[in-house]
Amino acid sequence: MAKSEVAFNRSLGGMVRAETQSGIPVKQVYTPTDVEHSEYGRDLADPGRYPYTRGIYPEMYRNRLWIKSFIVSYSTPEETNRAFKEYIAAGQTGLRLLADLPIQTGIDPDHPSSWNSMMCGGMSSYSLDSYEKALDGLPLENVDYELAHSSISSPLFFYSLLVALMEERGLNPANLRGSAINDPFRANIVYGCPDFPTEIARRVCLDLIEFGARHTPKWKAYAPNGVDPQQSGLDAVQEVSEVLGVATAVYEDIISERGLKLDDIGATVFSMDAESDFFETIAKFRATRRMWARIAKEKLGATTERAMSLRIGIRTSGLSLQTQKPLNNAARVTLQILSCVLGGVNSIDASSIDEAIGLPSREVRMFNLDTQHIITHEANVPLVADPLGGSYYLEWLTNRIEEGACKELEEIERRGGMWECLKSGWLRQRIDLSRIKVQQEIAEGKRLIVGVNAFQGEEGPISRAIERTSYKVPSKQARLKNIASVRRLRRTRDQQAVSGALRELYRAAGESRNVVRPVIEAAKARATIGEVVGVIRMAYGYDYDPLQQIATPAFIRELVKMS
């Protein structure tokens, strides 16, 4: 072959799969016979009508677009504050906060295990001072705040910081809006969070729902999370069963143990994943809304529209984004956002095209927002509610996901329910088995990922620039400075006030009273997250330090002894 010739292969790039990403086999075409058992009034209904398959509002996005949200939490409160202001000016409407990894573990910056991941993945927000700085000049009332942490001590501490900050600024916490992922199942099976063993995590989760329902009715204190179980391995059908199973288990506990009705708790939001399979993702949201409406009504006794109509908050798949040829991630993220809008979700946190490299740079965040503006104003996608409703394929797939998720839920029931499946390790094993299956498919070329196991090609200057400009984790000096700042806080705060507030927290936890108010007061006294976590652990008879590396601070030993 002469040097200038190219081998022509008409089938290069042809399809290799006959099933969805979750392994649902699909035909070449769908016709009315595939959906002949569906009944419009029973299974679909107009948007805003039970069972909300087509969306939870009659007018959908005409009145209210989805919340444009993403995590803004850089290493320091000052950087985070600057970034928030910039992104709000560009159209961000949901303020999503995330602490760094040690804080999510429940330890302070000066804990020895903090060093290697300090200020990574989020803000080192160890006390109310951090939130004061990060949210300086930002509104606290009637703005959607979202807390997206892994552990249960994090929503406890950060919700308390938000309420404390409002009270310190003379605002009414009843006007706090937003939601927190507060999912004791995910904390255990996905993250193995060491802060709270499951018995504590379960109680604190219920405390937050109860306190929220009574004092901050616009706040959704409990968002079961399907994103991270899916990112760890679950397929879409399993994700639906996971979030529905978790929601049902926790609400059954709150109803039986705290005397609340689902109607009192108000709206529920599920935090879900948007994966690369376009139609499967759209169908998943529709199936989940329908299933939740039925569970809420038939199993949990809900009677209000608010309690039966499920809000869906999305984080688009970080796992689907690649380090190889990162420019391609722009296509992935755009398709995922589009599937969310077509699926009628209520909030979108889109991963950034440099997600697989580091924290997002400013420009790729602006790209996230602009993509949503283009979908809205140029592509006109949100003009009509559930525009794909009635598609033979989509309706069949929605039914198919519902059937699959029902089977999974029946299996969980047979195995003794969600808490039992958590204890037995079955929920974790389900994640592992699915993960291994996907890995095998990638290795065998049954699942093609562009730039990774297919179409590798050369990276050009644009991809290299994306790698170069992503946000990099802080240096040693910044970490040392952060350690010095928490030590300064401990020296300068009113130590008597801290001890008093933590003593009350210790007593409340020990007497099985709701711990949220005592944590709010401890936060105001400038207790740190490590201290709050440690004191609650001790009230339950555990070591102060979740990682069992440091001794109990002397003043805490003292206050425990005096209690």
């Binding site: 295990s113 991941s117 490299i357």
Partner: protein, 134 residues
């Protein structure tokens, strides 16, 4: 590989990084390739990873981290290895490793430094050849 004992390896995670999928996937691939794998789990200290490696008499430590802090982690693990007379143990790394840290890692003797999506057989071959070359 049949002529000598199986390669023993610790897959380690240091600090509070919660991203575990890479470590689990790698551990399984190494096991499938006939190696004896000890996975430390998350939330470990550099000290604990090094001590496990020495106590278990492994040939290699594979560090996985997705926070961008591999350089700091490797420094601490190598120091702990020296302290426990494990300086002969090979250290390989993978995860999200900033490009600017690659020369420093190489200089410390940390090899591999693979990013996400690296074919697992590439990593397996690298580890085998490391051990073969002593």
């Amino acid at each position: 590989m049949s002529q000598r004992r199986r390669i023993r390896i610790v897959v380690g995670k240091v600090g509070c990084d919660i991203h575990e999928r890479g470590a689990l996937t790698l551990a399984r691939a190494l096991r499938d390739a006939g190696m004896e794998v000890i996975y430390t789990g998350r939330y470990q200290t550099p000290e604990a990873v090094a001590k496990t490696a020495v106590d278990e008499g492994v040939d290699v430590i594979a560090l996985s981290d997705h926070t961008g802090s591999m350089r700091l982690i490797a420094v601490d693990v190598l120091e702990a290895l020296k302290k426990h007379d494990g300086a002969g143990i090979h250290v390989v790394a993978g995860g999200l490793i900033p490009g600017k840290d690659l020369p420093a890692l190489k200089k410390m003797g940390v090899t591999g430094n693979y990013g996400p999506g690296t074919p697992l057989d590439v990593i397996v071959r690298h580890i085998s050849s490391l051990v073969d070359s002593g």
